[in-house]
Assembly symmetry: D2
Amino acid sequence: MDYQGVIEEVYQEVQQENQRGKVATYIPELASVNPDQFGIALVDLQGRVYGVGDYQLPFSIQSISKVLTLTMVFPKFDPQLWSRVNVEPSGNPFNSIAQLEYEKGIPRNPFINAGALVITDALCSKFDNPTQQISEFINEIAGKNCVAINPAVKSSEQNHAERNTALAYFLKSYKNFDNPINQVLDVYFSHCAMEMSCVDLAKSFSFLANDGYSLFAQREILSESHARRINAIMLTCGFYDEAGEFAYRVGLPGKSGVGGGVAAVMPHKFSIAVWSPELNEKGNSVKSIRALELLTDKLSFSLF
Amino acid sequence: MDYQGVIEEVYQEVQQENQRGKVATYIPELASVNPDQFGIALVDLQGRVYGVGDYQLPFSIQSISKVLTLTMVFPKFDPQLWSRVNVEPSGNPFNSIAQLEYEKGIPRNPFINAGALVITDALCSKFDNPTQQISEFINEIAGKNCVAINPAVKSSEQNHAERNTALAYFLKSYKNFDNPINQVLDVYFSHCAMEMSCVDLAKSFSFLANDGYSLFAQREILSESHARRINAIMLTCGFYDEAGEFAYRVGLPGKSGVGGGVAAVMPHKFSIAVWSPELNEKGNSVKSIRALELLTDKLSFSLF
Amino acid sequence: MDYQGVIEEVYQEVQQENQRGKVATYIPELASVNPDQFGIALVDLQGRVYGVGDYQLPFSIQSISKVLTLTMVFPKFDPQLWSRVNVEPSGNPFNSIAQLEYEKGIPRNPFINAGALVITDALCSKFDNPTQQISEFINEIAGKNCVAINPAVKSSEQNHAERNTALAYFLKSYKNFDNPINQVLDVYFSHCAMEMSCVDLAKSFSFLANDGYSLFAQREILSESHARRINAIMLTCGFYDEAGEFAYRVGLPGKSGVGGGVAAVMPHKFSIAVWSPELNEKGNSVKSIRALELLTDKLSFSLF
Amino acid sequence: MDYQGVIEEVYQEVQQENQRGKVATYIPELASVNPDQFGIALVDLQGRVYGVGDYQLPFSIQSISKVLTLTMVFPKFDPQLWSRVNVEPSGNPFNSIAQLEYEKGIPRNPFINAGALVITDALCSKFDNPTQQISEFINEIAGKNCVAINPAVKSSEQNHAERNTALAYFLKSYKNFDNPINQVLDVYFSHCAMEMSCVDLAKSFSFLANDGYSLFAQREILSESHARRINAIMLTCGFYDEAGEFAYRVGLPGKSGVGGGVAAVMPHKFSIAVWSPELNEKGNSVKSIRALELLTDKLSFSLF
């Protein structure tokens, strides 16, 4: 398969269409990013890397990190974890607190903010030095030291933390939060403030395309069954309130972040990361999603 | 009018019917209260006091204090206050956070928890020593030093503060909170932990039956217009999600607390406080509401 | 009391302020009404009439009729009626179906559409010829033949009936609807399409200011207790999702309609009807509410 | 692949576990079904049939029919169809009307009741004799005359039609309904009342495992792209408010019905139908889901 040719074709078409959105503005570091940046990196199951555009530039991975913290926590808590967080699509904005009230403190899934806070809380219960260990874990599965926490981003997130803090206290009121809120939020903002390039991100997701085995870490990261399940959750819940649309148009398990990145996998074929900062009104990158749609059309690859 | 005779009659009938509910259990101090206590105190516009049963025993006034903090804040902020909090009944439980999300951080009224937190926040902006000044204010309008903050209750409230803390952070995320959250919560829990007897509570509400003038403080506490408006808010919002039922059955402006107390006024006639710890499933005192219903029937007094 | 002088003063001030809103547009008959019409009629407990402006012109009373159908039904069903409909403010738009789902088919109060449909259904169970009997009843309490059903309005309502039909079927799915849906809707649209002038409307509400006795029918329409309770429901639920605001600003029990009318009572003093077609965004007449606010200020009359 | 051996193994294990639920009771025809019936039929892409248990007995397919009506409508309306109905999971019960109000008359997806009514309405716009043509279509893709409409089931559905009628009127109030409501409901209840066996159902879903081409009809039923998209919608929305759980545990696109049936596909491998009448509290067949979970474990087949 000529992956390099295909992603270059996709890159050209997306640039020509030039669909626009709006860069995230809730913190200045994201608001000031160059909106024209665009990169694609694809990694196949032999570990070969294909890239185009700004695929080597680090960007703020934001919520994409939630897949990797879930990966760290999942084998340590399964199946008890699923009494603390569900695996259902939310049908609501990612930071909604109303649904959490209706469902009595059990977040709908691990990728909405409330669910990701529960995952980070669980992580803090099992790791002594969680922020550092998240970085180490991602470096391991990406095959090199590539993770940097942007201190300005982290600090800005902390200065806009009221809503996440409210979610954490609300979870605690339902006894679904074990560790000190400040500590968990610090870890949470740290992993959301991580920066990686498309190529490193695609490598770090490679094990999810490979039944749980990482070529780069050279070990099984998750059992085959656990890897599949994370893919299932990405497919049904990975794109906020647009998961159905992404499954419909693209048909790959994936996860987006407000930095404009999307990481996705075609099981038994490849992992891929795309990045372009401008977002649609649901908070997903316009060009990244369009690129993945064109790619699956061209490759005639989708889950379905 | 033979108020003493009427309240004694009411007292006897309520005791005979002996309708039961459940004492509040979210903090041990309320859970362990003697559920059989029951008292009524009525104060007319000449300042005469009528009492029956446990009307001189102090109890935890809880949310009833919200009327008095609103009274302190109202003249200092009117009308700007009403851009921060509405005056509509909520149609939801008192501590709901969902509605606050749907209405973008503007609480439905000053008596649900979110609204009362906004009022306490506003109070902290205008008073240097808010907790002490609330006590002093209530002592003044009750005509004697009668307010004590129960330290065990306050401490318990603080140990169960997650939900109120979540509300405060959520308000702050909508920029509807000005002061440090810990400081405001400390004041909030202080006034909720105040203890007063029925007789002192009835005296402290007397100005609301008297167009804003307090016989006990011997001064105008609120303008006639402001006093009326607080009565209007009590009528439409004073009993959580049971305000309509109370208006229908009793027809007086009033405010309940989870300690089992209810303070109410018949404008231009009297103020009244009733206390019995057992609550119905909406969180209002079973016997206190029944007593007020019988009283208005017997007196043929209601707003309507 | 110089009621005539006061309402003329109010009329002048409201006309000078000239606050504007938007005429209801969901049916052409309401959309094409002259928006500048404005009238006030007040009837005291001696039956004296005071009027100013367009107070003798008939207009579409719309939801104001719901108070009168409730009056017909109330004594025939009390207290069983209150297992079919509550008396709580809704906190939602008047035609919301969502709340009806959350509360399992029991409408929040008799004045939102779902609740009024239950009342009309109950009415159809007790009256053989309901539409005609509603007209006769209103004519009786207004003291003259004054009610006309506008056939064009009724027909337009029926052509825009989908939402009310949905509410009726939804109520039926909860077994809270006894009669054929088409029949009940026909009666419902008939009473909403009735036209009356301010003066006749004020007369027809007079019994609610008079402990249930109608000077014009010369008989007790409701017991004192029932009359009070309808006033209580009007106060807490009479203005859609603006009931608290009306209680706060005006402090009288009342009911509005999308035709721009408001009928209200000051118990033991007077009944009043005001009409001006332009509505605020909550569906209540801008000038009518302003007029009532000024009136209660000038008279220093309010419930509170 | 020894499909026959695997499904027999699965059958035995599920019978031994013997997890129980509750048969649907909203109509007598479903309530009186023998709860112990259980069958599995699998059809591979060579058209070979494998079966075990009651796989040849007809049962009420109910909502499974919604996939097939969507199939008939999809190519005739794409992409305009998607302005009338979304493809997002609902996060709510299948017959909820509240969400339809919040989303202004656009159902969340074609498989909740409101969405399926829109699809049936669209079908009525394009087919002259819709009920008969649905039967003919299913017979064609199943390769034989196998569809029977159970008149008692249809009649019972019509006698419990209030909620669906409410949904239809509500859709019409948002102008998202073109044909007469009674006509569309008649077609809707007809296809929900169809009876088929597991084997015929598995055959009729075969084209969805085969990029749109039906071995039994010997023609392309849908384009590859359309077939994939229906699979995507089944995966994200096929199991009411349990779609995420099914994706997580089973990982196949599928659709359940309250008759206890589930039809699913493993793209490029097989289609499968399972039937057992007892449902969990979300309305999905307990044994059918468990069978599919065991099957994908044993086959190591899932999308992911």
